[in-house]
């Protein structure tokens, strides 16, 4: 009998097991973790999408864990990406120190994410939320370097603020409804006073917004994504940040939906999401580190998702949830690519590496499909989500938001091209002569996701099935689709197979033509044999145009960036860092101390909020 506690205990006990395995068997941790993740993944898929209920009464608090259609969607995302991330980590992390610590936290994070989506009561939700935060925090500071500590502290500080907000909201809700059960609270929410509603909704939205890196709460994300090991970054960006989306979905459609302020909530969130998408894209354009670039890209994509959710129409939610899945896939692909390049060349800086296409062709292919998908170019999966999003924006008369979204989407080409150009195209230099393709255990996840985005583009309907069910949980939303056709509210439809067929046919015809024409007289020459105005470059001259690649665009948006909030928040972040400086003194090197501090803080927060609202547990 599969039920939620089984899955969770597999994950958490597995984490401990992996930690133990590392003590006794070399490579034991990675194999254990992979098997555990595979097994848990199987369990998640085997769990009936509606069911597996389990409840536990602890005194006056009842904990309820249950799978709903909505949580099943996210659980599957977590399970698949988690397994792929661990598979990827097997060779990526090989030979590094503290592998037990790494895999334990990895599995704990996965378990916590599953716990969040399966939680039907606020206490366990919050508990798993904290577990997720600190296990991911442990992974951010994994490398143990000064930079990663800074990033970790920033991440932790923001997460703590988010957690505090969520906690406050929970406390307020409990004060009103006298219950921790999600269903109870949702039921009673519409009856609460307007002030309470606003407070709860904004607290929850901000709390979840931190995790989904909604601007202006995104400041932690670039650093944290950059510093965490790439195997985990794929999950971090692909799945963990989606927990914020999961929460926002609940907030919008479960709490806010029955109140008078529903419209305002949605408008605010939509605009926040839209601006997040645009500004994050602009920031991504000017990054020179691949993982930071992808981090900003991730923030921007989460902005789209928030917009889609906040539109509140069936097509919008469908677009958002579809993009959630797709973003999980393609951002994991891109982070894995960046990790692969890092593994082979030792850097993720876009300025230092170039010309890897011949050395790592499959990685390049992954990156290519990744960027095509992110940029929303047909016929891959990214396009459908974009198409649905625009249709949803149009049908809800968001004229200006669509422009903001479109600018973000077009400007995304800039950074995406830079990503693939800097790593894989350009001059093949001597420094990359020794580079080999990454081992199979890293290729398998990448290729699997590549095939997935292709499949999603051809048969979006298959993925839309679970999404449709999830939408049913959120409310009475109905949207129609067929395996290859997606419809819009204006009665418009898009047939992906016609599109893919046309593109494929012409591409193949063109490839045949250009391959056949002058076949014998066509030569491949080295990238040094280029038009250098007749001159012969010397050895140490750099012919790759990679540094400040997007400077023309940077110049154009300089006035916008000058006034943006990011600088302000960076400043704030700096100050927060110094505020949390003391954390470095108490850091002793193992996770337990930190866990203790976190719990202590939680307790303090609870007591503190309790004193405000006059409630005592």
């Amino acid at each position: 009998m599969i039920s939620v506690p089984v899955i969770l205990s597999v994950m958490f006990l597995g984490g401990v097991l992996a930690w133990l395995a590392n003590r006794f068997v070399p490579k034991g941790a990675s194999w254990t973790a992979a098997i555990i993740a595979a097994f848990a993944g199987y369990l998640v898929f085997a769990l009936p999408s509606c069911g597996g209920e389990y409840s536990l009464a602890l005194g006056s608090i009842t904990l309820v864990w249950k799978s709903t259609n909505y949580s099943a969607l996210f659980a599957m995302l977590v399970a698949v990406l988690g397994f792929l991330g661990i598979l990827y980590s097997m060779d990526f992390m090989a030979g590094k120190k503290n592998l037990g610590y790494y895999y334990m936290n990895f599995l704990f994070a996965l378990g916590a994410m599953l716990g969040i989506v399966y939680s039907q009561d606020l206490v366990s939700l919050f508990f798993f939320w904290e577990v997720m935060t600190w296990s991911s925090f442990m992974l951010v500071i994994y490398s143990g370097e000064e930079k990663s500590h800074k990033a970790g502290i920033k991440y932790f500080a923001y997460s703590a603020i988010g957690a505090y907000l969520i906690l406050s909201a929970i406390v307020i809700l409990y004060a009103q409804s006298n219950s921790f059960l999600l269903s109870e609270n949702i039921k009673m929410f519409s009856g609460m006073s307007l002030g309470t509603q606003i407070m709860v909704i904004s607290f929850l939205a901000l709390g979840f917004g931190v995790k989904s890196a909604m601007m202006p709460l995104h400041v932690w994300a670039p650093e944290a994504y950059k510093e965490s090991p790439s195997g985990f970054t794929a999950v971090f960006s692909g799945a963990l940040s989606k927990m914020g989306i999961f929460g926002l979905g609940l907030v919008i459609f479960k709490f806010a939906a029955n109140t008078e302020i529903f419209g305002y909530v949605r408008e605010t969130l939509a605009w926040l999401g839209g601006l997040t998408a645009m500004l994050a894209t602009f920031y991504a354009v000017i990054q020179s580190d691949a993982k930071k670039l992808l981090a900003y890209s991730s923030i921007g994509q989460l902005g789209y998702i928030i917009v889609g959710l906040a539109l509140g129409t069936p097509l919008g939610i469908m677009a958002a949830l579809f993009l959630t899945i797709m973003h999980g896939a393609f951002k994991a692909m891109l982070f894995m690519t960046a990790g692969a390049v890092y593994m082979r060349t030792g850097t993720t800086s876009l300025n230092d590496v170039s010309g890897l296409i011949t050395k790592m062709p499959l990685t390049f292919l992954t990156a290519l499909f990744g960027i095509i998908s992110v940029s929303g170019i047909p016929p891959l999966g990214g396009f459908i989500s974009k198409w649905m999003l625009y249709q949803a924006l149009l049908e809800t008369n968001h004229y200006f938001l669509i422009i903001v979204i479109f600018i973000a989407s077009t400007a995304a080409f800039l950074y995406l091209y830079r990503f693939i150009f800097s790593f894989f195209l350009g001059q093949k230099e001597k420094e990359v002569e020794h580079v080999k393709e990454v081992p199979w255990s890293m290729l398998v996840p990448m290729m699997f996701l590549t095939l997935f985005v292709l499949f999603a583009g051809l048969f979006p309907g298959v993925i839309l099935d679970p999404i449709g069910k999830a939408m049913g949980y959120l409310g009475n939303f109905k949207a129609s689709w067929e395996p290859q056709v997606v419809f819009s509210a204006w009665g418009e439809k898009i047939n992906m197979q016609v599109i893919a067929g046309t593109i494929g046919t012409i591409f193949i015809l063109g490839a045949l033509f250009i391959g056949y024409k002058n076949k014998k007289a066509t030569r491949v020459v080295s990238t040094k044999d280029i038009h250098t105005a007749g001159e012969i470059p010397t050895e140490n001259e750099n012919l790759t145009y990679a540094v400040n690649f997007n400077q023309p665009f940077e110049r154009a948006i300089a006035p916008i960036l000058k006034w943006s909030v990011d600088k302000l928040f960076n400043l704030l972040g700096e100050n927060l860092e110094s505020t949390f400086e003391y954390l470095r003194y108490v850091y002793t090197g193992n996770g337990q101390t930190y866990a203790m501090y976190v719990i202590l803080m939680v307790v303090i927060l609870i007591l503190f909020s309790g004193s405000i609202f006059g409630i005592h547990l």
Binding site: N351, E431, A533, N540
Partner: protein
Amino acid sequence: MREKETTIYLGPQHPGITGNMMVKLKVTGDTIVRAETHVGYLHRAFEKLMEARTWLQCFPIVCRICVPEPDPNEENLSRVIEEIEGREVPERAKYIRVLVLELSRLATYLLWMGGQSGSMGLYTMPQWTVGDRDYILDLFEQLTGGRVYHMYIWPGGVRRDLPEGFGDKVLKVMDYLEKRLKDYDDLLFNNALFYKRAKGVGVIDKNKAQEWGVVGAPLRGCGIKHDVRIDEPYEVYDKLNFIVPTYEGGDVWARAMVRRQEFEQSISIVRQVIENMPGGDFYNKIPNPLNWRVPPGDAYVKTESARGEFGYYAVSDGSLKPRRVHARGPAYVHGVSLLERILQGANIADVSFIMNSLGTCPPEIER
């Protein structure tokens, strides 16, 4: 170790380069961190060849020193010989020389207008101006027999007298050019886009300009009034009525406006010359050209060419052949050290634009 900055070769084979030279750009993004000028692609060893030729045989050589405007070179060599030898030049020859020099200035400015606009993508302008320049070349052809290289100005005067009715033809061409100048204004000088591109680009510091050796229109574009025609009047420039325009700013725009004004001034000078052309001899004949020895001595003369001060230093040791003839064109400074300096921090898009506004001419750098 690989450099951090990207290397971009602008030239020698590049549509944006003026002539045959190379500017090696080190860029980050599209901002130039460092620029190095490389010349020598056109080095023909003219100064060496001149030492092996008689004084008169040097004339076919010097006119090839600066291809777009050969006449200041002939003028310079003639004058430097005349100064060493102390030879008098007839008044009529002086007027004819000024006529030739000013026509050559007009032709060069027309070519410059084409180059300046071609370097920013306005391809109609070169088509017009280079086509119109041919009218001046036709005049040269009638006068001297050569379209590009004239070998017309000789020590002691000029080689031939003006042909019949030449003055009228010149005036006709001047009228035409004046009419066309309005079109050029519409297309280039009054174009807001040209202003946007040129303003504040390639700025030369006014306080440093003299020290850096800036001459000609770039110097006048900095607001410094300096012109060899006024400072050290040669031929009959002291008898002619013209002004030397200056502009403030030191950028491409200022230089363009200076040149545009000078274009008008040149037309007026040509008219005055035709009007005041005296009669008389056109050539103070040198004795036997094959056995013509210039007395020992040295001299430095300069001429205001269309791109700035053009100086010649010549040394004679009393033999048939020159000991040394050294040409110093304005591009020697403009094209190398000044260009390298003002390209720092510029945009890649402006390199060719700035080069054209400085009047860089590689053959006169390396000779």
